[in-house]
């Protein structure tokens, strides 16, 4: 990382927490460290997004992949973390991303009655999209259910869908083969579809 990059994303100012260290602790199995890191990421992703949107003003399109990777570059001292550490971080970032999105969907669900702008005479409902907070929340719930039974498959969805990780990255993060992730993904895809009542059919 050059100095320029450092200036672009000022490091988190909270001096009480050292993200790199928390990551190591979390990696070592410290669950409270994992929670701390998750909180940190949650805030950080939001800050990052805001900074991005200010920079890019009108056209802000955000990719989950880019965001979680940037968060990593920004929060963690690269030279102190190995490959496995990075994958662990990305997994946590995916979880944080899921939390951000689900929270947002919750608040929008409250707003939904007041959405107002949509013409109410539409005879045909537009095709369901993840923009619909209800759909996203239903998916979150179903994912919880899946996690209770097939935790790894649920994690794959979290990494792929919310974190935007590639098959390879997800595989590395979970410590399994690419083919396993691929099959997990396929199963979860079908299972969630069925669980959500094929609502978009």
């Amino acid at each position: 990382m050059g100095e320029g990059d450092g200036a672009k994303f000022p490091r988190h100012v909270d001096s009480k927490i050292n993200p790199t260290q928390v990551l190591s602790e979390s990696l070592a199995g410290d669950e409270s460290a994992q929670g701390k890191l998750l909180d940190l990421l949650y805030e950080d992703l939001r800050r990052l997004a805001v900074a991005r949107m200010r920079q890019e003003n009108a056209q802000h399109t955000l990719q989950p992949t880019a965001l979680v990777h940037e968060a990593f570059l920004r929060l963690i001292e690269q030279d102190q973390v190995d490959f496995q550490g990075k994958q662990h971080f990305l997994a946590l970032a995916s979880m944080a991303m899921r939390r951000v999105l689900v929270d947002h969907a919750r608040s929008r669900k409250r707003d939904k009655r007041g959405a107002g702008q949509r013409p109410d005479h539409l005879a045909v409902e537009p095709a369901a999209s993840w923009d619909d907070p209800l759909r996203l929340l239903a998916m979150d719930e179903a994912l919880e259910k899946l996690a209770a039974k097939n935790p790894r498959q649920a994690r794959v969805v979290e990494l792929r869908f919310f974190g935007g990780l590639s098959l390879e990255e997800a595989a590395a993060s979970l410590g399994v083969s690419r083919d396993t992730v691929k099959l997990d993904w396929r199963f979860a895809r079908a299972w969630l579809h069925k669980e959500l009542g094929g609502e978009e059919a």
Partner: protein
């Protein structure tokens, strides 16, 4: 399902995925026998796997959603953190030197301070806070940031936000000198200091505009009220106090607390968020999720209400804020009293803005602004010109849904009936005059509105039966009743009649349109303001003449134009543009009728008067020259025609350049004149340039462009360009004409006869003969084409030496010619046809018949006239 079974399901799924279709069926059958429950489960999964829609997960998240979610910034905790940060930016002591206190409210204190750094006076708003985390402080910081984010002339600019050395949070903003709208309202009601309702409406319009901007930025104010609007000494209008504003996608620091409160009301420590009288029902009932830009629209409506009613909504009696809140939630405010001279349009705008249901309000602040502006500027939706039918339909529909919409639609339709000028300068006397005037027109508007209400209300059988009333029925019913229902209001009557006439015109109901135009002219005679009325009446007469011309009632058209001319001369004198326009129209009409001798003097006079009357409007000036030139050319006075048209062309070229549509159209007329006068060399000088410029300027295949191309070919043919170049050009032109205007169009016919002429001259007689015979067989009985086709054929047959066939063709030409003569009204056509028939009969050796036609032609001209003399000479030369 147990964990075991779930992982078993996964294994089975994995296994099944590996199998091909047939193997899978067998696999499933086996499973079904051993564990039917599991088989069903797996079957459903495999079906979902095969179903493409299950791949929704693959789509990933919409980027915008991610932005929204991550961008939903500023939770309370975050604001607190930032406030911490703020205190780090403490400004140097002594930068701001305290001066006077400007104002103070419940939340903050505004003082005038001297900014020593920038050397200027600014307003500095502070809040005494108990610790940076307090809700008040958060609200205060939020206000500064929201305001600072909005850059609009109607929103006061915020300069700085910070904490001073004493730990006080403050922000500075531009100092606004003036009064708040509450004070302005008081002046308005007393008619003091030049403040009247119209001027106050102007302020509200500015508020709408500023708010429309804020809404576009995703900011809802939530506390709009007269006290929060500042009006500067020079008419600037500022929306202030954004402390309650909510930014889209962000949470306001107060909202969570309000939401968390036991009542769900937006009350906090006894203070109501927002100001009850101006608060929308959704806001008053504490339904925060329902508050959006339409809540601001409501507040604006409430401000309008206060201006009109001279008291705020729900204000009767001194009440506590809580009880007002209760009443806002419970019912509508007292309705506005129309008797007190309030324009019905305003009442309607107000009730639409204050509708109880958000869906019934203006959807945006911009829409409210548009209606207010329309009212103020008298510009009003241009229903006149852009399709009154559609407006009417909308009107009917809206009226059946909500009576409130009626007046708005009425304004749209009646257009300028209501004149209220915006008075910028405080000229009290002038204002009183205008107001008196406005009141009078308001009365007319009320009457007209009543008329419309009857028309589209319960008294209309269609509407009362709930059927979709046919527009034509409504128009008829309205047309019949205008005269009686609006007997006292000539101006409104005339406008409605004009509008309805226009509607009939679009529907092709010309007779009804004419009847209403006539009625409108009569109504205008009753209007007191003669100047405007005369001008309108003359315009109406022009419109009527146009309709008559279109329906080939040329005499009635002439009557209208003669009347228009008389009125124009009487009203504005000879040297007025109205007079000259009337002369031009009249001359043109006579030219169309072929009454060249009558057209010429009118057009000559128009041409002489035009420069004086039209000032520097060269288009108008040149119009009469060109018309006159065409008349002269038709009369055979080609020299003068060319002279006049050429000079018009020169003027146009000098002013607008050569590649200008008007210049080019005039050049086309010049081309025709030169061609008719057989001055081919002169035409050849500019025809090529004109032809190459035409597509870009006049349109790729406009009739003018194609006509110019035709002349280019003819001119080249005449100056003896080789036929093997000319022929393909003419064939191509014929193809394009046919493609563009249809094979049976007059344009295609002309191109084809020209092709026949060229073929004949080239000695390709068989093809020419075939061409003309084809034309003859395709022509419509009684048309000029039916006569011209056999007439052209005669010459071809004569050249082929088939004299007998030529005579037969002459006979057919004669019959078709008589049929055409019986139909045509144009003197030019009559003369031309008689001349052609005479010459053709002479050519085929039927001298007596030729002479008879020639005599009929001569009879058209007065005895002893030069024109007659010239034609007598021609007659005597026939057949020699």
């Amino acid at each position: 399902m147990s964990e075991d079974r779930q992982s078993q399901l996964f294994s089975l799924f994995a296994e099944a995925c590996e199998l091909d279709q047939q193997a899978r069926t067998e696999f499933m059958a086996g499973l079904h026998d051993s564990d039917p429950g599991m088989a069903r489960e797996l079957q459903a999964l495999l079906a979902a796997d095969a179903d493409g829609s299950s791949y929704a997960l693959e789509e990933g998240l919409p980027e915008t959603l991610l932005s929204d979610a991550l961008g939903a910034v500023k939770g309370k905790a975050e604001l607190e953190a930032e406030l911490e940060q703020l205190s780090g930016w403490t400004l140097p002591d002594g930068r701001f030197e305290l001066r006077d206190e400007i104002g103070h409210g419940a939340m903050g204190l505004v003082r005038l301070v001297w900014d020593a750094a920038l050397q200027r006076e600014v307003a500095r708003k502070t809040i005494r806070s108990r610790g940076t985390g307090s809700t008040r402080t958060l609200r205060f910081v939020s206000e500064a940031r929201v305001t600072g984010r909005l850059e609009h002339p109607g929103i006061v600019p915020v300069h700085d936000l910070g904490v001073d050395a004493s730990g006080e949070v403050f922000f500075t903003m531009q100092r606004v000198q003036g009064r708040n709208l509450q004070e302005i309202y008081a002046l308005t009601w007393q008619e003091q200091e030049g403040w009247g309702r119209t001027r106050a409406l102007g302020v509200l319009l500015r508020v709408c505009e500023a708010m429309a901007y804020a809404h576009a930025q995703g900011v809802v104010h939530r506390d709009l009220k007269p006290a929060n609007i500042m009006v500067g000494a020079f008419g600037e209008v500022y929306v202030m106090d954004w402390g309650l504003a909510r930014v889209e996608g962000e949470q306001h620091p107060l909202d969570s607390e309000a939401e968390g409160s036991s009542t769900g009301r937006m009350t906090m420590a006894g203070a109501v968020i927002g100001t009850p009288s101006f608060m929308s029902p959704e806001q008053a009932s504490g339904d925060l999720e329902q508050v959006d830009e339409r809540s601001d629209v409501y507040a604006l409506g409430a401000m309008l209400y206060e201006l009109l009613a001279e008291e705020s909504p729900y204000a009767e009696g001194a009440e506590s804020p809580e009880s007002i809140v209760g009443r806002v939630v419970a019912r509508e405010p007292k309705s506005l009293n129309l008797e007190s001279g309030i324009a019905p349009e305003l009442v309607s705008i107000c009730s639409k803005a204050m509708a109880r249901q958000r869906e019934d309000r203006y959807p945006t602040m911009q829409a409210l602004a548009d209606d207010l502006r329309a009212f103020l500027e008298e510009r009003v939706v241009q229903a006149h010109r852009t399709g009154a039918i559609v407006e009417l339909q909308k009107w009917v529909r809206r009226n059946r849904l909500a009576a409130a919409g009626l007046f708005i639609a009425f304004v749209a339709l009646v257009g300028g009936a209501i004149t209220i000028a915006v008075i910028e300068n405080a000229n009290a006397e002038r204002e009183r005059e205008l107001l008196a005037d406005a009141r009078q027109q308001e009365a007319a508007a009320v009457a007209a509105a009543g008329f419309m209400e009857n028309l589209f209300g319960s008294q209309n059988p269609y509407v009362s039966r709930g059927e979709d009333a046919q527009v034509i029925d409504l128009l008829n019913a309205g047309a019949d009743r205008i005269a009686t229902d609006l007997a006292e209001y000539a101006d409104a009557r005339a406008r409605l009649q004009t509008t309805l006439a226009g509607s009939y015109m679009w529907m092709g109901q010309f007779e009804r349109a004419i009847g209403l135009f006539e009625a409108a002219v009569a109504s205008l005679d009753d209007v007191e303001d003669r100047e405007a009325a005369e001008e309108d009446a003359i315009d109406l007469l022009f419109s009527m003449a146009k309709i008559h011309t279109r329906s080939r009632q040329l005499e009635r058209a002439e009557e209208c134009l003669v009347q228009a001319l008389q009125r124009a001369i009487e009203f504005s004198g000879e040297q007025s543009s109205l007079t000259v326009s009337a002369m031009n129209n009249l001359g043109n009409l006579r030219f169309m009728q072929g009454r060249l001798d009558e057209a010429e003097p009118v057009l000559r006079m128009a041409m002489e008067l035009a420069p004086e009357a039209h000032g520097d409007n060269l288009h108008e000036i040149v119009a009469s020259s060109i018309n006159l030139g065409q008349v002269l050319q038709a009369k055979g006075q080609s020299d003068e025609a060319v002279l006049i048209i050429r000079s018009a062309c020169d003027d146009l070229r000098a002013k607008y350049g050569p590649r200008n549509p008007t210049t080019m159209r005039a050049s086309m007329v010049l081309l025709e004149a030169l061609y008719a006068d057989q001055r081919f060399d002169e035409a050849a000088e500019f025809v090529d340039q004109l032809t190459s410029d035409a597509p870009a300027v006049l349109g790729e295949s406009s009739w003018e462009t194609l006509r110019i191309r035709q002349f280019q070919i003819l001119v080249r043919w005449k100056i003896a360009d080789p036929l093997d170049e000319i022929l393909p050009m003419q064939r191509e032109l014929l193809r394009v004409q046919g493609e563009t205007f249809g094979e049976d169009s007059a344009a295609a016919f002309q191109a084809e006869t020209n092709l026949g002429q060229i073929l004949r001259e080239a000695g390709m007689l068989a093809e020419a003969q075939e061409l003309y015979e084809g034309l003859e067989s395709r022509s419509v009985v009684g048309s000029e084409q039916a006569f011209l086709a056999p007439w052209y054929l005669i010459n071809v047959l004569l050249e082929s030496g088939e004299e007998e066939a030529a005579r037969v063709a002459a006979q057919r030409a004669r019959e078709a010619g008589e049929a055409f003569l019986a139909r045509t009204q144009s003197q030019v056509h009559v003369a031309g046809t008689l001349q052609r028939l005479a010459e053709a009969h002479a050519d085929v050796g039927l001298a007596d018949d030729a002479k008879a036609f020639a005599d009929r032609l001569l009879a058209l001209f007065p005895e002893g006239s030069a024109q007659r003399a010239a034609r007598e000479e021609w007659r005597d030369g026939l057949g020699r």
